[in-house]
C-alpha cells in the first residue's frame, strides 16, 4: 500500500515537472543541439581540413565553451527530471549551469560570437542555419524570460531533492532495476569506458589532439575492420576452449588467392577470356576466397573435432602451411591493382547522405526489435522493466549508435568494410545468443563433461564452429586485401595474436564458456586505437609492440580480479 501511494505522489510531482520540462527543454534542446553540433563540426573542421583558418585566437577555448555549457545544461535538465539518490547532488550542480547558460544567452556578445564561427561564411561545406532562425527573433524576449524562470525553479527543485532525502521521479525499485542492469553488464560498460579512456589519453598525448578528429577516427575504424571481423568469431573459438593460430596466414593466403583471381595471372586471364566484366571478376575473387576459407575451416574441423589433435597444434601447423601457400601462389612477389569494385570493399565509403539513412534504419530496426521483445515478453506474462528504464536503455543505445555514425558521417560516410563488420557481428551475436548451436558452444566451453552428458554432439558442434571460422576469416582476408590493394608474402603476419588479444580484451574468458561477440569488436578497436595513437605520436614500432603486449596483460589481470570478486 505504501509503495502505491508513494508512487502516486511521484506521479503528481511528475506532471508539473513534465510541463516545465517541455517548456524549458524544447528551446534549450534546439539551442544546445545547435551549439553542440556546431562546436563539434567546427572543431573537426579545424583539425581535419588544413585550409580552414580559425577566425581569432582563443577560438579553441570558445569552441570548448560552446560544447560544454549547453551539454552540461542538458544533462542538468535530464538529471533533474529523473533525479535519483545518486544524481540529486549533480542535478543541483547542473541546474546552476543552466542558469549560467540562460543568463549567458542574454549577454549581447554571445550570438555574434556563434555567428562568427559559421563555416559557411568561409565557403566550406556544412552550411547550417544561424541561431536566430532556430529560436525565432520574435520570441527571443519571451523565450529568454521563460528560460531564466524555469532554471531557477529547477534549481530549487533539485535542492528540494537533496532536502527530501534525494527522492526523485524514480521509485526505489526502478532505481534498483537500473543499478542491477548496470551491474549485470558492468563488463560491457567497462570495456567501452576503457576504449573512450584510451581515446581520451591519445587526445591529450597527440599533437593538437589530432587523434580525435573524424578523419583519424574513420581511418582507425577502417584499419581495424579486418581484425574486428575475425575477432567476432575468435570469441566463439575461445568460448569453446579452442584456439586458432593460423588466422594471419589464412588471411594472407585468402588474399593471395583473391588477388591472383583478378589480376593478370593465368587464372584471371582465363576468366577474362570467357568474357566476364571487371565486376564479375571481383565477385568471382570474393566467392573464391570464401570457398577456400570454408575448405580451410573444414580441414581444421576435421583434425580438431574428429581426429582429436589439439587445436593449438592443428592451427600452428596451418600457420606454417598457409604461409608457405602464400609464397607458392604469389611466387614471393607482391600482387597489385585489384578490380575497382573489389577495392571499394576496403577503401570506399557509403556517402554521408546515404549513411544517414543507414543510421536511421539501424536505429529504427534496433528500437523495433527491442520493443517487439518487450511486447512478446509481456504477452507471456514475464516481468518487463518499467517504461522509464526501457526508454533510458533505448536512449543510451541509440546515442551510442548515433555517435558511431556521426563520427563516420563527419568525415566521408560509413566505410563499406564496417557495414560488413556490423552485419557479421549481428549474425554471430544471433547465433551465439539465440540458437541451440550457440548455446551448445557455451555449454561445451563451460563444462564439456556436462555438455556431453546432456546429449550434445561436441565433435559436430566444433566442426561447424571451425567452418564458420573459416568463412569469417575469409571475409577478414578479403577486407584486408581490398584495403591494402596488394597481396604480399607477409600479409597478415601476426594478425592471429591481434584477434585473440581483441577477443580477450573484449571480456572473453580463456577458461571457456564466457564471452560475447560485441566485446571482440570493441577489443579490436582498442588494439587499433593503440596502433593508431602511437603512430600519431611518432612512437617507434618497438614501443607499439611493448605497449600492446602490456595492455593485453593488464586487461586480463583486471578481468580476473573482477571475476574473482564476482564469484
Amino acid at each position: 500500500m505504501e509503495s502505491k501511494s508513494e508512487s502516486r505522489i511521484q506521479f503528481l510531482f511528475l506532471v508539473p515537472i513534465f510541463i516545465l520540462f517541455c517548456a524549458y527543454f524544447l528551446p534549450l534542446a534546439r539551442i544546445s543541439s545547435y551549439t553542440v553540433f556546431r562546436g563539434v563540426e567546427l572543431y573537426d573542421l579545424y583539425w581535419s581540413w588544413p585550409e580552414y583558418q580559425p577566425p581569432f585566437s582563443g577560438y579553441g577555448a570558445m569552441v570548448a565553451l560552446l560544447m560544454l555549457i549547453p551539454a552540461l545544461a542538458l544533462v542538468g535538465v535530464v538529471l533533474s527530471a529523473i533525479g535519483t539518490r545518486l544524481t540529486a547532488p549533480f542535478s543541483a550542480l547542473f541546474s546552476i549551469f543552466n542558469l549560467a547558460l540562460t543568463l549567458g544567452l542574454l549577454f549581447p556578445g554571445y550570438e555574434p560570437l556563434v555567428r562568427s564561427a559559421n563555416p559557411a561564411e568561409l565557403g566550406l561545406p556544412l552550411p547550417r542555419p544561424g541561431l536566430p532562425e532556430l529560436v525565432g527573433e520574435g520570441h527571443m524576449g519571451l523565450g529568454y524570460i521563460l528560460l531564466v524562470v524555469v532554471s531557477i525553479l529547477l534549481l530549487l527543485y533539485s535542492l528540494y531533492y537533496i532536502g527530501a532525502g534525494g527522492r526523485g521521479a524514480f521509485t526505489v525499485s526502478t532505481e534498483n532495476a537500473i543499478y542491477d542492469s548496470v551491474r549485470k553488464n558492468i563488463r560491457q560498460y567497462m570495456m567501452i569506458i576503457a576504449l573512450l579512456g584510451i581515446w581520451g589519453i591519445f587526445y591529450v598525448l597527440t599533437e593538437n589532439g589530432v587523434f580525435m578528429t573524424s578523419r583519424n577516427l574513420s581511418n582507425l575504424f577502417l584499419q581495424s575492420a579486418s581484425t574486428a571481423v575475425v575477432a567476432t568469431c575468435v570469441v566463439l573459438i575461445l568460448v569453446t576452449m579452442n584456439i586458432d593460430l593460423s588466422i594471419g596466414s589464412v588471411v594472407g593466403f585468402i588474399g593471395a588467392i583473391a588477388a591472383v583471381m583478378q589480376t593478370d595471372s593465368p587464372i584471371a586471364k582465363w576468366i577474362a577470356g570467357q568474357g566476364f566484366s571487371d565486376q564479375w571478376m571481383a565477385i568471382f575473387a570474393i566467392l573464391g576466397g570464401l570457398l577456400i576459407g570454408f575448405a580451410i575451416g573444414a580441414w581444421h574441423g576435421m583434425w580438431i573435432a574428429y581426429l582429436g589433435v589439439p587445436a593449438f597444434i592443428v592451427t600452428l601447423s596451418s600457420m606454417m602451411v598457409f604461409r608457405g601457400g602464400i609464397l607458392a601462389f604469389t611466387g614471393g612477389k607482391s600482387i597489385y591493382n585489384m578490380k575497382p569494385w573489389f577495392q571499394a570493399i576496403g577503401q570506399d565509403y557509403v556517402s554521408p547522405g546515404a549513411s544517414k539513412w543507414v543510421m536511421g534504419a539501424v536505429i529504427i530496426l534496433y528500437v523495433a526489435f527491442e520493443l517487439r521483445r518487450r511486447f512478446v515478453r509481456q504477452r507471456y506474462g514475464f516481468a518487463v522493466s518499467s517504461w522509464l528504464v526501457q526508454i533510458l536503455k533505448l536512449a543510451v543505445a541509440c546515442v551510442a549508435i548515433f555517435i558511431f555514425f556521426y563520427i563516420m558521417i563527419l568525415y566521408r560516410g560509413v566505410p563499406y568494410a564496417w557495414l560488413i563488420v556490423l552485419v557479421v557481428m549481428v549474425i554471430l551475436t544471433f547465433i551465439a545468443e539465440k540458437t541451440t548451436f550457440g548455446r551448445h558452444l557455451y555449454a561445451i566451453g563451460g563444462n564439456p563433461e556436462a555438455a556431453r552428458l546432456s546429449g550434445i554432439n561436441i565433435r559436430r558442434k566444433i566442426m561447424y564452429l571451425y567452418l564458420v571460422m573459416g568463412i569469417v576469416t575469409a571475409i577478414g582476408g578479403i577486407i584486408f586485401l581490398a584495403r591494402l590493394n596488394a597481396a604480399t608474402a607477409n600479409a597478415g603476419n601476426g594478425m592471429e595474436l591481434d584477434c585473440i588479444a581483441s577477443a580477450v580484451i573484449g571480456g572473453t574468458s580463456l577458461m571457456g564458456g564466457e564471452g560475447f561477440i560485441f566485446g571482440g569488436v570493441v577489443g579490436a578497436l582498442v588494439m587499433g586505437s593503440l596502433d593508431n595513437g602511437m603512430s600519431l605520436m611518432n612512437l617507434d614500432v618497438t614501443w607499439q609492440y611493448i605497449v600492446k603486449g602490456l595492455v593485453l596483460l593488464l586487461a586480463v589481470w583486471v578481468d580476473m580480479i573482477n571475476r574473482k570478486r564476482g564469484s
Partner: protein, 521 residues
C-alpha cells in the same frame, strides 16, 4: 594417558565436524607396533575422514583430539608433516607419475642428490633394493605407464618404504586387483609385517580382512563400535557391527503398484577402456513402470559404471542389450539415450551435471533445447516459461532464473539437475546418489519428487550408498558387488544386514571357489 610402548599410533577421541554433519564423533583408534590392523565400516562411516585427519589433509586445529605417534603428540599442518613423522597413506587412486620410470617415481620430491644434482647410480641401487622388499623383480628404469595396476600398487608401497615409513596405511588396496594380484599383495603385506612395518588396512573385502588382520576396528556413523582381536570374531559379527545405522530420517515412502517391465538390461558386460579390466560382468536387470529400484553396493562395486555405460558415456560395452518397452534400443551416445527416454542424473553434479557459469534457465534447458527451438533458433520465451515451471514445481529457491548455477546451494543445484532431466520427459530416470552432500530438508524434497515421478509412470533407478535411503525409498533392491549382481529383494524382505552381506558377497564366493580349486589339486 599412560604411554604404552606397544602402541605405535594412537588417535585419541578424535572429533571432526563438517557444516551440519559430525563426521567423526570421539573416535579412538590404537595401532600396535608391527601389526596389521584393519579398519572397516560402511560407506560414510568415517574411515576416509579419519585417515585424512591422520595424514594432515585436515590440519591440526580443524579437529579435536590427539594424534600420538611413538608416544609423541603430533600436530600436522600438512601432509608433509605426517610423512616426516613416518605415516604413509596409499590411496585408491594411485598417485604415480605415469610418464616417469619407477626409480624417478620412488624418489620423487625426495631425490638422492648432492647440491641439487641427482645421483642416479645411488638412486637405482636403492630402488632395486626396495623393489626386492616388495617382491618385484623388475627393472627400475621401466616406465610406470607399462605396469599393471597390481604392480603399480606395489611400487606405491615401495615408495612409502623409501621414506622410512613406520605406519603404512592402505585405502582399499585390492579393489582394482584381480584375485591373484590381491593374494600376492596380501602376502607382501605379511612379509612386511614380519620385518616390523606396521600396517593399517582399509577394505570392503571382509574375506581379506579375516585373512590378514591381527585386529579389526569397526566404525559406524563416525563412532568406534568395536575393536576385535584375531580369531575372536566371524565375518557376520563384523557385518552386524558395521550396519545398524539408525533410521533417523523420515522417508516419505509410498507403496506403489508397479506396472509392466519398462526397461530390461540383458547380459551387460563392460570393459574399462584404460585398464582393459572387466568392470561390469554379465549384469541383467529389469525396471518396471512406476517403481523405484534401489541399486545398493559398496563404493567401487561398479554401480556408477553400470549406469554410465548404459547411458553411453563409459567403457567399451562387450556384450548385452537394452530393451525399452520390450523393444531393443541402441544407445551409443547420451543423445541416443535421451532420445529413447533414458535420463541419467550423475553422481557428481558439479562435474557432470551443471555448467556452473551458466544461469539456471540455460542449465535447465540444456538437454531439452531441441524441443524448445524451431529451425535451430531457441524460443527464449518458451524457455523462460518452462524454466519457471520447473523452478516452482521443484521448489528451487532462487531470486531469479537468471541466477548462475554456481551461486546456488547444493540442494538447489541438485534440483536444477533433476529439472534438467525432467525437461527431457524421460521414461527411465536413473539417479546416481541423488541426495549426496545436501541437507536433510532438500533430501526429503527430492524424495517427494521421486514419488511424484513414479506416480506419473516413470521408472526410477536409484543408486545410493546410504543403506537407510535404499531401504527407505526403494520398492525393490538390487545389490551389486565387484561388477556383478549378487542379490535382489523386495522391500519387505530387505534389511541392512542382508544388503551388506550381498554387497561383500562375491569375493568371498570366488575365494571359496579358489580354495575349492586349490584343494582339488
Amino acid at each position: 594417558m599412560e604411554y604404552d610402548s606397544d602402541n605405535i599410533l594412537e588417535m585419541r577421541s578424535i572429533t571432526k565436524n563438517f557444516p551440519g554433519v559430525k563426521a567423526l564423533d570421539n573416535v579412538s583408534f590404537t595401532v600396535k607396533r608391527g601389526e596389521i590392523h584393519a579398519l572397516v565400516g560402511e560407506n560414510g562411516a568415517g574411515k576416509s575422514t579419519l585417515m585424512k585427519v591422520l595424514s594432515g589433509v585436515y590440519p591440526y586445529g580443524t579437529y579435536d583430539g590427539d594424534i600420538v605417534i611413538n608416544g609423541q603428540v603430533q600436530r600436522f599442518g600438512a601432509i608433509r608433516d605426517s610423512e616426516n613423522a613416518g605415516v604413509a597413506i596409499i590411496y585408491q587412486e594411485l598417485t604415480l607419475v605415469k610418464t616417469m620410470n619407477i626409480c624417478e617415481n620412488l624418489f620423487l620430491g625426495d631425490e638422492i642428490a648432492g647440491r641439487g644434482i641427482i645421483n642416479w647410480n645411488a638412486s637405482f641401487r636403492r630402488a632395486a633394493e626396495v623393489l626386492k622388499e616388495v617382491g618385484l623383480a623388475i627393472n627400475p628404469a621401466t616406465k610406470v605407464l607399462h605396469l599393471g595396476v597390481g604392480v603399480q600398487q606395489l611400487v606405491e608401497i615401495a615408495k612409502a618404504l623409501v621414506k622410512k615409513t613406520d605406519v603404512l596405511v592402505l585405502d582399499e588396496p585390492t579393489s582394482a586387483l584381480s584375485a591373484e594380484e590381491a593374494k600376492n599383495l596380501l602376502d607382501i603385506l605379511r612379509s612386511l609385517r614380519d620385518r616390523g612395518v606396521t600396517c593399517v588396512f582399509i577394505s570392503h573385502r571382509l574375506g581379506e580382512v579375516m585373512d590378514i588382520a591381527d585386529r579389526v576396528t569397526v566404525l559406524r556413523d563416525g563412532q568406534t563400535v568395536a575393536t576385535l582381536n584375531r580369531g575372536g570374531f566371524t565375518e557376520d559379527d563384523m557385518i552386524a557391527r558395521m550396519v545398524g545405522r539408525e533410521l533417523t530420517e523420515l522417508f516419505p515412502y509410498k507403496p506403489k503398484r508397479a506396472g509392466g517391465v519398462l526397461m530390461e538390461i540383458r547380459n551387460w558386460t563392460v570393459v574399462d577402456v584404460e585398464s582393459d579390466r572387466v568392470v561390469i560382468d554379465n549384469v541383467s536387470l529389469t525396471l518396471r513402470k512406476g517403481e523405484i529400484l534401489g541399486l545398493a553396493g559398496l563404493v567401487g562395486a561398479g554401480r556408477t559404471e553400470l549406469v554410465m555405460s548404459i547411458f553411453g558415456v563409459y567403457g567399451r560395452v562387450v556384450s548385452g542389450e537394452i530393451l525399452l518397452n520390450g523393444k531393443p534400443v541402441k544407445v551409443g551416445t547420451p543423445h541416443d539415450a535421451i532420445n529413447s527416454g533414458i535420463s541419467l542424473l550423475s553422481e557428481d553434479r558439479k562435474r557432470y551435471g551443471l555448467v556452473l557459469g551458466m544461469d539456471i534457465k540455460n542449465n535447465l534447458s540444456l538437454a531439452a533445447l531441441n524441443s524448445l527451438s524451431r529451425h535451430g533458433v531457441v524460443s527464449e520465451n518458451e524457455e523462460i516459461l518452462s524454466a519457471n515451471r520447473y523452478v516452482s514445481s521443484l521448489n528451487i529457491k532462487t531470486p531469479s532464473i537468471e541466477q548462475k548455477a554456481g551461486n546456488l546451494s547444493g540442494g538447489n543445484q541438485q534440483k536444477v539437475v533433476i529439472g534438467k532431466w525432467l525437461m527431457t520427459r524421460p521414461e527411465v530416470l536413473v539417479l546416481d546418489e541423488p541426495t549426496r552432500g545436501i541437507d536433510v530438508g532438500a533430501k526429503v524434497e527430492i524424495y517427494h519428487i521421486m514419488n511424484r515421478l513414479v506416480d506419473d509412470g516413470v521408472g526410477v533407478l536409484m543408486i545410493s550408498s546410504e543403506l537407510p535411503e535404499v531401504l527407505g525409498m526403494s520398492d525393490r533392491v538390487v545389490v551389486m558387488s565387484e561388477g556383478c549382481i549378487t542379490g535382489e529383494m523386495l522391500k519387505r524382505d530387505a534389511s541392512q544386514e542382508k544388503i551388506m552381506t550381498f554387497a561383500t558377497a562375491r569375493f568371498r564366493q570366488s575365494k571359496a571357489a579358489a580354495a575349492a580349486l586349490s584343494g582339488g589339486e
